[in-house]
Symmetry: C2
Subunit: 466 residues, 2 copies
């Protein structure tokens, strides 16, 4: 059972045979231009670009079935591509092969408002979906920041700021259509809200990073747009106080919709970037969803909790413009981080620990960054115990070395606290080396599943497994 996955090498002959067939089948939708290929290698992180040999723009499930059939015949790797916003090299093609771009499969196939479900093609983005749903008073709450595709979010088990209330992709996908390595299109489940019918293939495919199947349709759970929303901001004297207020909020069963931490350096970056005057202290950004009474009750209670833990002033609003203003800083995080050190690139990190260990983990991480003389603002989805330190590095080799030490120690720290090296970004290429340390012999079971479903290792090879 612990069979090693066959280590693929570049199959130049197969690729040379497959591409003309793909060109014949897809015409201009099979693109081998260098710039297009590089756009489909990985671009949003420090992981080097490994471009595919061709990009096929799928417009239908049948297109995907055909690509799989051609690639199976010639033993050519297939790498699915959504919007390219993944952070761990998921869309790289280390052994070459075909990038299947799903962005043109962007139809919303149905919305069942009474059942609070909808079915979409994988290239639909979360913003596109929410614009479509708004008039029906519905929303799809999962928000990883980027305007990612629903297919990509499914494949990486994404979550983001709203997960503390609405869960992650695993909690919001009801059923999947996927083309499997055997060439068959399957549907993992019916549209019922729950089922006990056999193995949970839906959850097996969610987070499988394109290594088990190519997702061609996603049936999602939807939520009503809340009657009332309030937003709040509160600075704290130190990270521990902010984390303790966070713990107390979660523990009292508050259905808080968002609870985000920015550390002092992150707040400084935001002030500089957005010309704002926030206190440069660890700050919680909160959002509450519910009825008017419910939202008021939640806001008051969390205001009191925050003050009890030394935070303040606790500023909140239910008015849309003021809410936007209060959260402006949080929304600008990405750009503010990059502006903090012009020319540097950012390495995203993504540990997640039990919330009781969060303050300790953030404090130790902060101290380690100082010890290593690295610049890395921290922002966290702290209701879930998940935070990102974005390490800003230049070309300096010693800085690279120190960043490497930091990354190793960060993963070790999270594991020592019974946490994970990745809360929401996935393993991809970047975190392969931590997976066995994290789940031990469970990796052998994962590999046995991979080998059983994709014996030729053609579906996104070189990801997840070391």
């Amino acid at each position: 059972m612990a069979l090693a996955l066959s280590t693929p090498t570049r199959n130049d002959d197969g690729i040379a045979l497959a591409i003309p067939i793909l060109k014949q089948r897809f015409g201009e939708r099979c693109d081998t231009g260098q710039s297009m290929r590089e756009q489909h290698g990985h671009t949003t992180t420090w992981i080097p670009n490994q471009a595919p040999d061709a990009v096929v723009f799928a417009t239908s499930t049948q297109d995907v079935i055909d690509v799989v059939e051609i690639c199976r015949t010639h033993q050519v790797p297939i790498v699915p591509f959504g919007t390219g916003t993944s952070l761990e090299g998921h869309v790289n093609a280390p052994f070459g092969g075909i990038s299947v771009d799903m962005s043109r499969m962007n139809k919303i196939l149905d919305v069942h408002a009474e059942d609070l479900t909808c079915t979409v093609e994988p290239g639909v983005t979360r913003k596109q979906l929410n614009e479509y749903l708004r008039d029906q008073g519905l929303m799809f709450p999962i928000d990883p920041g980027a305007d990612a595709s629903i297919g990509g979010m499914t494949a990486t088990r994404a979550s983001g700021t709203n997960a503390v209330r609405y869960g992650t992709m695993k909690d919001n996908v009801l059923s999947l259509d996927a083309v499997m390595p055997n060439g068959e299109l399957i549907r993992t489940a019916r549209r019922a809200k729950k089922t006990s019918a056999g193995y949970d293939l839906t959850r097996l495919l969610v987070g499988s990073e394109g290594t088990l199947g190519l997702i061609t349709g996603i049936t999602l759970k939807l939520h009503g747009i809340p009657e009332a929303i309030s937003a709040a901001v509160c600075p704290f004297p130190h990270v521990e106080a902010a984390c303790n207020a966070d713990i107390a909020t979660i523990k009292c069963g508050m259905p808080v919709a968002r609870i985000e931490l920015c550390d002092a350096l992150q707040m400084k970056a935001i002030n500089e970037y957005s010309k704002l005057t926030y206190p440069e202290q660890p700050t919680l950004f909160l959002e509450f969803h519910g009825t008017e009474t419910g939202v008021k009750e939640q806001t008051d209670l969390v205001g009191a909790i925050s003050e009890e833990h030394g935070g303040g002033p606790f500023i909140f609003s239910t008015k849309p413009e003021e809410r936007t203003k209060l959260w402006q800083a949080r929304h600008d995080v990405y750009w503010a981080v990059l502006a903090l050190r012009p020319g540097a690139s950012g390495i995203a990190t993504d540990v997640c620990v039990p919330i009781s260990r969060l303050a300790e983990c953030v404090e130790e991480t902060r101290a380690d960054l100082e010890r290593l003389d690295l610049i890395a603002p921290i922002v966290g989805h702290v209701g879930d115990g998940n935070f990102h330190a974005s390490v800003l590095i230049t070309d300096d080799p010693d800085e690279h070395r120190r960043a490497g030490v930091f990354l190793e120690r960060l993963a070790e720290r999270a594991l020592a606290m019974d946490g994970t090296c990745t809360g929401e970004h996935g393993i991809g290429q970047g975190k392969k080396k931590y997976l066995r340390a994290e789940v031990g012999g469970a990796v052998d079971i994962m590999q046995a599943i991979k080998s059983a479903i994709d014996p030729d290792n053609l579906f996104n090879p070189g990801k997840i497994f070391a």
Copy 2:
């Protein structure tokens, strides 16, 4: 990949060799007495008892590892046993073998109140756990009715009355320890609230019915005991009206904790059994959890929705004794059903459909029962679109035939409405014949996974797959 599972036959020689070794290892904890064996075959349904050859009472994970090792060596089937309350023949031993009784592995290993998690052995029952948690203001909400073991509830992906608010076992298990068919003990995940680290083996094992691994430890999500609880009861003129009130309640995003339907026959059975005087009409039983203000708001809103849909009187209370009285009828359902036809046995059914199809599905099912002259009260977890018609049958062969026709048509009806043949009971032996109709080629993927993880088909053989 679509390899058929090897069809096991009884391995008499292996069993004869394994039992003395098990007796030597476990002494009196390996029991081959007929009555003990029969108690561990399936008893709570119409499916005939298929007793194992021996019952081993495990008291530690090492015990489970040892049983697996001995059974692997001699190619003997292993059937896990919790409290024996499953409804689809899960604990039967159609090819003989060893029943591993987990009931003595009933320690609560830790509770992390700040993280809202706990870790338990598989034999801990849900009532035992909730009694233990109460003093800390915490609860584990999943309530399938029976005082089932947490291990069994995990293995069957159980849910029940609270699922509409708190989800099913898949939503409330953070991590599992399991002894796999290769003899290795794995832990599927760390204790972080979310993770994107590799395949979701936690969710793969939840609902795998003992066919992929023997669960020896479960880390669960916990919830705070709500500050306030209110209960309500409301009769409706017909099922459609009750279902429409249910749909409207769910659609407006109400975080209702329980919403249960009893049909007119069920209400009659309850009145007779419990000497009560409920209107013998389709009736909704509701429960609301939250702050005092929140609960009041929910109760008022659902009261108004119910009246709008022709229901009433809507009676509610927040006082513990009155709440218990209001819900008495719902709690007595199991016994009331059996008393409706003394001497008859009940066949549990378990379809679940998208909520928009629920009224139609219940009405058609009711009509089919009348057409076939069968007695079957209906009770439903209607917030999830899930309902149970309990068919009461005697020894009359023609009644058996008609019951068979009913079961087939019920499954077909649910599938035609994009629903499932089993919302929460699992496939086991009883629903194997419906699985391919429900998920098509996905069954081949499930079988490939089973063959990869349990190539000798020793873990609960004869379940799930036809």
